[in-house]
Structure formats: structure tokens, C-alpha cells
């Protein structure tokens, strides 16, 4: 991670009339990571990616991609592969013919094509016309197209969108397979759960603004934790709540349990305090555990306005 960032954006903005699709976006994507670019529909993910790819002209801001200025896409796009807004290929051409057209346009070696078709699991269907492919196959052909020329940066816009559960599983595996070495993968989705297993870096945007960026583990660390406590007998619940309140730990009653906010304390220490207090009054605990807010809940709280 000592290399310069694969993508560095400073105050990037895109406005359509009075509507801002992207507003002052400042992000860094370290080289070599699989970065999840997450946000609800309309958050500005595709527009940002389109600006990285020279398809859309920014209204303001600057940036670099692979160290080259954003204003000069021709200087870096030879090392970038992308799939954006769904796979768009010639319907009457076969998968292999479509890749041959792309490879010829970019001046890449046509010998790559069978290898890439095998890599994405289309080796046996490469000579079938694109129009006969299922959505999952189209997405995989799109990824094969993006991999032409062995790019250093791979930009994938919602590659999992619309796939069935088996397709989602396959695509996640493929994305994980594509990462590694010097390649950086920037992959977007509106569902964090689709990406959290494969991403080691996360960028969360909402309404065109950055909400979070950093290692995926950091987002998890920020997630709120609560201590869930349940006495063996429900009749002891009020007594336990009073006991803990006297010790400075307010708890909320919830379905026969006490929920105590950890509030930055060490959850294990707090659990020991609770256990000791209950034991001193002869209350037997049937349940004592730390519950983390899930990453998805944390993400949803961010994009619903909590962290803006």
C-alpha cells in the first residue's frame, strides 16, 4: 500500500442543471485493494465511474487514475478495464467475436481471448451469439472484456445486479479471483452485503457525497456494540436493571432481555461487571453476550443520514 493510490479524486463534482449527481467527492483508492464502492441507487456511483473512464466530463474537481490526470483519459485507459452500466455488446456477434472487436480497437493480442473466456467460465459458449446468453453470462463476458490487456485497474459497476443467488456467489468468487498482485479492483453495488466478503476497502457514498472511506474492518469497528443480558427468571429483570443503573450502566428492556450500550468500553470488562453485580445479588444469568450492529445495519444507518 506504499504505492501511489490507484484512484485519487479531489472535490470531484458533476451537475446536470441544478441537480448534483456527484458533489465534492474526495476519495483515495489504494493500489492493490478490492475497493467496494457502495451507496443506494442514485448515490452517484455510476456517474463517478463514468468520469473515471472519460465518458462523462466533470463539472468541477481534479484527480488522477494510475497517477495520470483525470482530464487525459487516453493516458491511462490502456491500463484500465471496465464494465459499466451493464454489458453492452453486439447482439449478433458471438462472445469471442465481441471480444475480438474490443481487442482490435485497443490493440490487444487476440490470443488472450480463449484464455479469458475460460477464466470467466464461458470457454464452451464463446462461439455462441451474445443474444443467446443469460444475464449472468453477459456479465461474465463483460468482465472478460474488461480484462483484455491485463489491466492494472478494473472498474466494475454493479456486476452482481440482477443475478440469481448462484450467480451472485459465482461473481463474488470471480471478483476475488481477479484481485491480487498489482491489480486494483473498484467494484460498485447498492447492497453492501454483496461486497463485504470480497472487499478490503470501502467507499460509501450517498446523494453524491462521501460518507465513509477506509478499510472495511474500520467500518465494522465503528459499528455499535451492545451487551445483551437475560436473567434465568424474568421476575429478576427489574431488580437487575436497577442494580446496573446504580452502577452507572443504563439498560433498555427488550423482550425479556436487558440491552446495555457498550459506549466505547471494553465489552468483556463490562460483561464481567454485570456478571459480578448479578452474582452478588444471587441473580443467575441465562444469557450474557456482546451483539454488534451488522455491517449492513451500519451502512444503512450511514446512508439514511446518521453520519452525514
Amino acid at each position: 500500500m506504499s504505492d501511489p493510490p490507484a484512484v485519487q479524486l479531489r472535490g470531484l463534482a458533476k451537475r446536470y442543471g441544478s441537480r448534483a449527481a456527484v458533489e465534492g467527492l474526495t476519495i483515495d483508492v489504494p493500489a492493490g485493494v478490492v475497493a467496494g464502492f457502495v451507496g443506494p441507487n442514485g448515490a452517484g456511483k455510476t456517474t463517478t465511474m463514468a468520469m473515471l473512464l472519460g465518458l462523462v466530463r466533470p463539472s468541477a474537481g481534479t484527480g488522477t487514475v494510475l497517477g495520470k490526470p483525470l482530464e487525459d483519459p487516453a493516458s491511462y485507459l490502456g491500463q484500465v478495464g471496465a464494465l459499466i452500466e451493464g454489458p453492452a455488446f453486439y447482439r449478433g456477434l458471438t462472445g469471442a467475436e465481441n471480444l475480438a472487436v474490443l481487442a482490435t480497437v485497443a490493440g490487444h493480442d487476440l490470443a488472450e481471448i480463449p484464455v479469458l473466456l475460460d477464466l470467466v467460465g464461458l470457454g464452451a459458449r464463446g462461439d455462441d451469439r451474445f443474444r443467446t446468453y443469460s444475464l449472468g453470462m453477459k456479465q461474465r463476458l463483460g468482465i472478460a472484456g474488461a480484462l483484455l490487456g491485463d489491466p492494472r485497474l478494473l472498474i466494475l459497476d454493479e456486476p452482481i445486479n440482477g443475478l440469481d443467488p448462484a450467480g451472485v456467489h459465482e461473481m463474488r468468487g470471480l471478483i476475488g479471483q481477479l484481485a491480487g498482485g498489482e491489480r486494483t479492483v473498484l467494484v460498485s453495488s447498492h447492497v453492501l452485503a454483496e461486497l463485504e466478503q470480497v472487499c478490503d476497502w470501502l467507499i460509501v457514498v450517498d446523494h453524491g457525497r462521501l460518507v465513509f472511506q477506509g478499510p472495511a474492518a474500520e467500518l465494522l469497528d465503528r459499528a455499535d456494540a451492545t451487551l445483551v443480558v437475560a436473567p434465568e427468571h424474568v421476575r429478576d429483570l427489574d431488580r437487575l436493571q436497577g442494580l446496573l443503573a446504580a452502577a452507572g450502566h443504563e439498560g433498555q428492556l427488550d423482550d425479556g432481555r436487558l440491552q446495555i450500550a457498550v459506549n466505547g468500553d471494553d465489552p468483556r470488562t463490562l460483561a464481567a461487571v454485570v456478571n459480578r453485580a448479578a452474582g452478588s445479588e444471587g441473580i443467575i444469568l441465562a444469557e450474557l453476550r456482546v451483539a454488534h450492529t451488522s455491517l449492513e445495519d451500519r451502512y444503512l444507518s450511514m446512508v439514511n443520514g446518521g453520519d452525514r
Binding site: 463514468a50 466530463r57 485507459l77 471496465a82 459499466i84 452500466e85 451493464g86 475480438a100 482490435t104 485497443a106
Partner: protein
């Protein structure tokens, strides 16, 4: 630009496209030659407007007369094909896919158009050869002498007919490309292109005879068929060149600067 040229040729050189093109060109040649020779008027018979006679067919340019007349009707077909091709690339997102590989947009567009026009030039040459062959086969059945067809004058007339047809169809193609880039939708661009160049300009010409000296569709007919509609071929060539340069230039600027959101 060269890479895009090669990529477009890759699409055009597929077996399916080649077979369809050969079949279409063969049908064009046979139909054009048959229609022209069967409708040719004999000595002393009144000739129809833009019609041919046995006498004119026996002259040096007689071998390619059917080709020239047939090509004048191909303009609208070329317009439709180029609108469908370019607007299709935009609306189906394939231009977006290509632009991520070749961000120099003008080079991309120029390479694509050069390949398509090279293809048109090749098909046109093939059509002329087939039409001459068909005409040669039909001529004896209509008592048309072919003695003057294959001399120097005949070859000159063939080259001139080919040049006029190529210039005219290139203009139709570039106007189709421009319309497709401006409008981006296949059905809307086709509707505008067909209605404007077909009924609209001809109705205008019926109402105002001077329309033939100014409007692009009428000027293109004049250019390809070597006269008619009240304008000289030179005037048609110059004005069409101006219109095409303005339209293609404006389309190039729009294509280079517009955000690609499809």
C-alpha cells in the same frame, strides 16, 4: 483510428454479412438491369422522364446505365443503414464499450466511418461489375448493341458513374451518421431522415421549383443520377459537399463533447 477501422472491418467481414451482401448486390444488379432494359423505349417511341432508350443504352455509357439509375435509388437505403448502425451503437451502449477502449472519440468515429465507407465503396464496385454483367446478358434480348461499351469511352463512363454514385452515397452516409448522432434514437432518426429526404423535399419541389437547387436530398439525386431537379451537377456537388461538411463537423463536435450516459 486504424484500430477502429480494423475492428469495424472485422464485424463486416463475417460470413453472414458477406453472404447477405453478395445476395443483395446480385439481386440489385439483376433487378436494375432487367428493369432498365425492359423499360427502354425503342426508336421513335416517346421516352419517359429519366427513362432510357435502346439508343442511349447502345452508347459508351450503356453498360453502366442500369447501375447509375439503380444507385440513385440506393441513397435512401444507405441513409437508413447508417442511421441504424450509428444510432444503434449509441442506444445499445456499444459506443460506450468502445470508448472505454479508445477514448479519442473523433478517431473512433472516423475509423468506424472510414471502414463503413470502404465497405460501401467495395460493394458499389461489385454492384457495378455485376450490373455490367447482367446488362451484357440482357442486351441482346432487347436488340441493344454492346459494341461501344467496352472501349476507352465506355470505361470512362463506368468510372464516372462509379465516382458519382460513390460521392452521392458517401454524402447520404455522412448525413445519416450526423442525424444519428444528433438524435441518438433509431426510430426518431429514421423517421426524420426518411420523411425529410423523401416526401418532404419532393412535395416542396412540387410547390417550389427552386427547391431542387438548394435542398440536400434533391441535390443528391441530381448528383447521383447526373442531372435533373433543376440544378447542375457541379452546383449539386459543391452544395452537397458544403452541407455534408457542416453536418459531419457539427456531429463530430457533439460526439466529442457530449457525456456518454447510455
Amino acid at each position: 483510428m486504424i484500430c477502429m477501422f480494423e475492428a469495424e472491418l472485422l464485424k463486416l467481414s463475417r460470413r453472414r454479412v458477406t453472404l447477405a451482401t453478395v445476395a443483395g448486390t446480385l439481386a440489385f444488379a439483376v433487378l436494375a438491369a432487367t428493369a432498365v432494359f425492359l423499360s427502354a423505349t425503342g426508336p421513335g417511341e416517346p421516352s419517359a422522364p429519366r427513362g432510357t432508350s435502346v439508343e442511349s443504352l447502345a452508347q459508351a455509357g450503356g453498360a453502366t446505365e442500369a447501375f447509375a439509375i439503380g444507385a440513385s435509388f440506393a441513397g435512401i437505403l444507405v441513409l437508413v443503414l447508417f442511421i441504424a448502425n450509428v444510432a444503434g451503437e449509441i442506444s445499445q451502449g456499444t459506443f460506450r464499450t468502445l470508448l472505454m477502449r479508445e477514448p479519442r472519440r473523433i478517431a473512433l468515429l472516423a475509423g468506424k466511418m472510414a471502414a463503413l465507407l470502404a465497405f460501401v465503396a467495395g460493394v458499389l464496385a461489385f454492384a457495378e461489375i455485376l450490373t455490367v454483367a447482367a446488362s451484357t446478358a440482357i442486351a441482346p434480348t432487347q436488340d441493344v448493341s454492346t459494341a461501344s461499351w467496352f472501349g476507352v469511352d465506355g470505361l470512362g463512363a463506368a468510372a464516372a458513374d462509379y465516382g458519382s454514385a460513390l460521392a452521392g452515397l458517401t454524402a447520404w452516409a455522412l448525413l445519416g451518421m450526423a442525424l444519428a448522432i444528433f438524435v441518438r434514437s433509431i426510430p426518431i432518426a429514421l423517421a426524420i431522415g426518411i420523411v425529410w429526404s423523401g416526401p418532404f423535399e419532393h412535395l416542396l419541389h412540387d410547390a417550389w421549383i427552386g427547391a431542387g437547387e438548394w435542398f440536400p436530398g434533391l441535390l443528391l439525386e441530381t448528383l447521383i443520377s447526373g442531372g435533373g431537379n433543376g440544378a447542375s451537377v457541379t452546383r449539386a456537388l459543391v452544395l452537397v459537399a458544403v452541407y455534408v461538411c457542416v453536418a459531419a463537423g457539427a456531429a463530430g463536435i457533439v460526439f466529442a463533447r457530449r457525456d456518454v450516459t447510455v
